[in-house]
């Protein structure tokens, strides 16, 4: 079986990365397998659950629905790239932790990345707008109440600590 491969180069969490991938390989698998960034979770692999959400050139996308070759030349940020240098947590990460916005935590990276992108572009959202913004991410544990509380808290104070 002949296997085509392609070279891809992208900046991931500020670090230039290269990989040799089959054209059919998703960005999610490349992040997880080639770059060892397993915080990007695969819950459905068909674009529904949102657990694999990452930022590509600033836009929140589902890494299971994008091929690595499509991200060639892009700047990618995963959940591992959100915490400020020095070991702290971002305001969004801190809010999820403090408001019990997670239980099993499998969905959490997707929510954290989605909310980070949304609050960057919408600094003063209403509660209804926050729900709307997070409606593409599934959580099976929390009933979303803690997630809503976390989103409100994060929207109220975006400074990292």
């Amino acid at each position: 079986m002949e296997t085509q491969v392609a070279q891809v180069a992208m900046t991931v969490n500020g670090t230039p990365r290269r990989a040799t991938v089959e054209p059919r390989k998703t960005l999610a698998d490349t992040l997880r397998e080639d770059f060892g960034l397993t915080g990007t979770h695969l819950g459905c692999e068909h674009g529904v659950c949102g657990a694999c959400t990452v930022l590509v050139d600033g836009a929140a996308i589902r890494a299971c629905l994008m091929f690595a070759v499509q991200a060639d030349g892009s700047e990618v940020v995963t959940v591992e790239g959100l915490a400020p240098a020095g070991g702290g947590l971002s305001a969004v990460q801190r809010a999820f932790r403090e408001e019990h916005g997670l239980q099993c935590g499998f969905c959490t990276p997707g929510f954290v990345v989605s909310l980070t992108a949304y609050l960057r572009d919408h600094p003063m959202p209403s509660g209804a707008e926050l729900r709307d913004a997070l409606s593409g991410n599934l959580c099976r544990c929390t009933g979303y109440q803690g997630i809503i509380a976390a989103a409100r808290r994060a929207a109220g104070g975006m400074e990292d600590q």
């Binding site: 459905c44 239980q103 009933g143």
Partner: protein
């Protein structure tokens, strides 16, 4: 390979809400789930599954798969060295199909290859010849005389009879009803996955997401033909469970491949394979007859409940017992005739899911309570309150409820909550249909409904239900620090937080580490039945007490040796300086702890002290229904629950919120649609679970009425929220529409005149493995 030990030094004792010790890792992406496990040089496993629900295997040719470069092993049932079957209660399920297929998705063969795609493609080259047979797809038909048998011995898995009082009792007012519950999926987000590593001693180390490490180990060992000590299981990070990880999925398969190849083997299911890889909630068909006095007191309940267990037994016998013993609800009823049946069919196997038999029955009895209230022209809450069980009430099994049973109080609490505000027709998001812009408020009607439920906590019917805990107290950097080791599975519920809180409270130390759960210590039992804080919490408390006794003995305290000695925390009792002096050598205790024993049910009458503890919750649902389109928006849930003692109030709230979301899903959207034994919607595009827009605000009243028999007075909390939330929502839809609604989930077509569409055709072949596409056509060229 093991999960890191998490040491927490924040304050947080019983009754506090400290942050999760694993929270930091979970928000940064560092937490290692079982699907994240990786070893260089590992192989990938894939599973070939049957596309047919019932068939004979007439030929099986693996040569095409074996010949593929990169393939290291292709295994069939003939390669299972030990017991060829497994199962929680009886080993009736083949590790790999033996000559016949009993459900769609049954594993037939395994492949290990150096790349997940290679493994999947190789599975596609295994030639299986099937002779299809008509599936037995209806549970009531399976009980009929002459029905074809799914297993030797017939299709009845278990019949539970409960008889109390006069079976021929008569009453002034009688209502009957037939009710159906569809098949719900646990739909945890982290797929079944794990890594099996062959060991030099001939054994295997398995890292896996599971609910019950020791029962996994025993089943794996039996099928591998190994001594259980040679199968070592360590809990991988668990992405939700809800009952679906109580049975095995890929555990034996990965270990077989690892031992066969001598290499580490990883298996990780796709979402589609996950729908076929675990048991589901039993569909139910129920008939109820309630008799009541003209004054509104229940005289009798007669019921039969048929639970579709699917192709294999799993935990169906226990589910049937729960449905039978809890099947009239939290009410005082002097005369009961209850028959609950679990049956084999060729549908997907069903077993544990949050609520475990109590969910199905609750939809039946609460629907009946509303129907009876209407027949009596009584308020539905008042009717329930009038018949509510209380402490000292007698269950249909004859068991006296010997701790708080505040059923009437819970109902009054939800009834007396202020109503939610009127809908805002200017905001589409608050209307049925949401941003689909299907209505601006026209034809939208509001309804209110109630539900109340009862659930047993812990394992019942005489099961030896215990947990084992080791607590070690030592000096770390001159500071006292404690380690807790159990085999209890943290599945997201927050057990690791609660165990830390218990140790801090019992020993008065701040530094506590919860070690990874594994089988090097005794069993903790399952993370199910709302039992783990009760039973493993009880074991940790007992181990702390023994550590404390050791230290007090070192200090020469004459009270140290007396049984039941439980002074306050050591730091408080002895002073921190003294404690450091006492810890010249570590203090350690390992304790096996049991709750009060239960007893089997009498097979003829269903009488017996079957359950150790009962838990109660009430729900009020407010819904808006678009009566033209049949769309439902749940506006608000008010709930009240007695938790005995809120060990961690924030975590308890999280359990209640999450359970309500799953109850909402069963009420209005979640169903595995099975037609002729074939699953038609094995994806998250077609199996819908509630999103943040579907989930309404929750108004919560939490009671803390201590159970004197339980550690700290606590009551299991995980399951009740998922039980009566469902009938409350359906009652609210009935209130809005006037439509009887006897089946859940309620679909739009139940609320309008239109008929459902036919689903898509089933797949022609099923090739499962990581990254398997949604539909895999069988390619004759491969």
């Amino acid at each position: 390979m093991t999960a890191p030990t998490i040491t927490s030094i924040r304050a947080g004792r019983i009754g506090d809400s400290p942050q999760r010790p694993d929270g930091r890792q979970k928000v940064t992406g560092e937490f290692a789930y079982s699907s994240d496990l990786w070893l260089d040089g590992m192989l990938w496993g894939a599973t070939l599954r049957s596309p047919h629900p019932r068939a004979r295997i007439t030929g099986l040719d693996i040569t095409g798969a074996v010949a593929m470069p990169g393939v290291f092993a292709v295994l069939t049932h003939e390669d299972v060295p030990g017991r060829e079957t497994y199962g929680l209660e009886r080993p009736d399920q083949p590790v790999l199909a033996i000559d016949q297929i009993r459900y769609q998705g049954e594993p037939v063969a395994l492949v290990a290859a150096d790349h997940p795609e290679t493994a999947r493609r190789a599975a596609g080259r295994i030639r299986v010849s099937y002779r299809e047979e008509p599936p037995l797809a209806d549970a009531r038909a399976a009980l009929a005389p002459g029905a074809p048998s799914v297993h030797p011995g017939g299709n009845l898995v278990r019949h539970v009879r409960v008889r109390r009082g006069d079976p021929d009792a008569r009453a002034a007012v009688v209502v009957t009803g037939e009710y159906e519950v569809g098949m719900q999926d646990q739909a945890f987000l982290g797929p079944e996955s794990g890594l099996a590593v062959p060991a030099a001693d001939g054994g295997v180390d398995l890292f896996v997401a599971t609910q019950w490490l020791h029962v996994d180990r025993d089943q794996v060992a039996a099928s591998l033909g190994l001594d259980p000590d040679l199968v070592r299981i360590t809990l991988g990070g668990v992405g939700g469970a809800f009952g679906a990880r109580e049975d095995l999925s890929m555990q034996i398969h990965a270990c077989l491949l690892a031992l066969h190849t001598g290499k580490p083997v990883k298996m990780s299911y796709s979402r589609e394979e996950s729908f076929f890889g675990h048991v589901h909630r039993h569909p139910a068909s129920m008939r109820y007859e309630h008799g009541c006095s003209a004054g509104g007191r229940l005289v009798y309940v007669k019921a039969d409940i048929v639970l579709d267990g699917g192709a294999y037994m799993s935990s169906s016998p226990a589910v049937a017992a729960n449905a039978a013993t809890l099947g009239i609800g939290p009410y005082e009823v002097p005369n009961v005739v209850m028959d609950s049946y679990a049956v084999y069919t060729n549908n997907p196997p069903c077993g544990a899911m949050r609520g475990f038999g109590a969910v199905q029955a609750c939809f039946g009895y609460e629907s009946q309570m509303d129907k009876m209230a209407a027949a009596l022209s009584m308020d539905p809450v008042e009717f329930r309150v009038r018949n509510a069980m209380r402490e000292g009430s007698v269950m249909p099994t004859g068991q006296v409820v010997d701790s708080a049973a505040p059923v009437a109080e819970l109902l009054r609490l939800v009834r007396d909550r202020p109503p939610p505000p009127a809908r805002d027709t200017g905001d589409l998001r608050s209307l049925p249909g949401g941003v689909s812009n299907t209505t601006h408020g026209e034809a939208v009607v509001r309804g209110v409904g109630y539900g109340v439920s009862i659930k047993n906590v812990g394992f019942s019917e005489g099961f030896d239900d215990y947990s084992t805990a080791r607590v070690r107290l030592e000096l770390t950097g001159g500071e006292p620090s404690a380690q807790v080791h159990t085999a209890a599975a943290e599945v997201g519920q927050g057990l690791v937080t609660v165990l830390e809180q218990i140790v801090r409270s019992e020993l008065g130390v701040e530094r506590v580490a919860v070690l990874p759960a594994d089988t090097t210590i005794g069993s903790a039992g399952s993370s199910s039945a709302s039992r783990q804080t009760y039973v493993t919490g009880g074991a940790v408390r007992a181990a702390c007490a023994e550590v404390r006794s050791q230290l007090l003995a070192r200090a020469g305290d004459p009270a140290a040796g007396s049984p039941g000695n439980r002074p306050p925390g050591l730091a408080g009792a002895a002073g921190l300086g003294d404690l450091v002096a006492l810890l010249g050598k570590p203090a350690e205790a390992t304790v096996t702890w049991r709750h009060r024993p239960t007893a089997p049910l009498d097979p003829g009458t269903g009488q017996g002290q079957a359950h150790v503890q009962y838990a109660f919750a009430a729900h009020r649902a407010v819904v808006d229904v678009d009566t033209e389109l049949g769309l439902v928006k749940v506006v608000e849930i008010a709930t009240a629950q007695d938790v005995g003692k809120a060990m961690n109030p924030q975590a308890v709230e999280g359990q209640i919120h999450g359970g309500i979301a799953q109850g909402l899903g069963l009420a209005v959207m979640e169903e595995i649609q099975v037609a002729g034994g074939v699953v038609r919607n094995p994806s998250f595009t077609d199996y819908l679970i509630p999103t943040i827009l579907d989930m309404p605000p929750v108004r919560l009243d939490m009671l803390e009425l201590a159970d004197p028999h339980a550690p700290y007075g606590l009551r299991g909390v995980g399951e009740p929220p998922a039980i009566s939330s469902t009938p409350a929502i359906v009652a609210a839809i009935r209130d809005a529409t006037g439509i009887p609604l006897t089946r859940i989930p309620v679909r739009p077509e139940h609320l309008t005149a239109t008929q459902p569409d036919e689903g898509p055709d089933p797949p022609s072949a099923m090739i499962m493995g990581r990254n398997a596409p949604h539909r895999v056509p069988f390619d004759p060229r491969s």
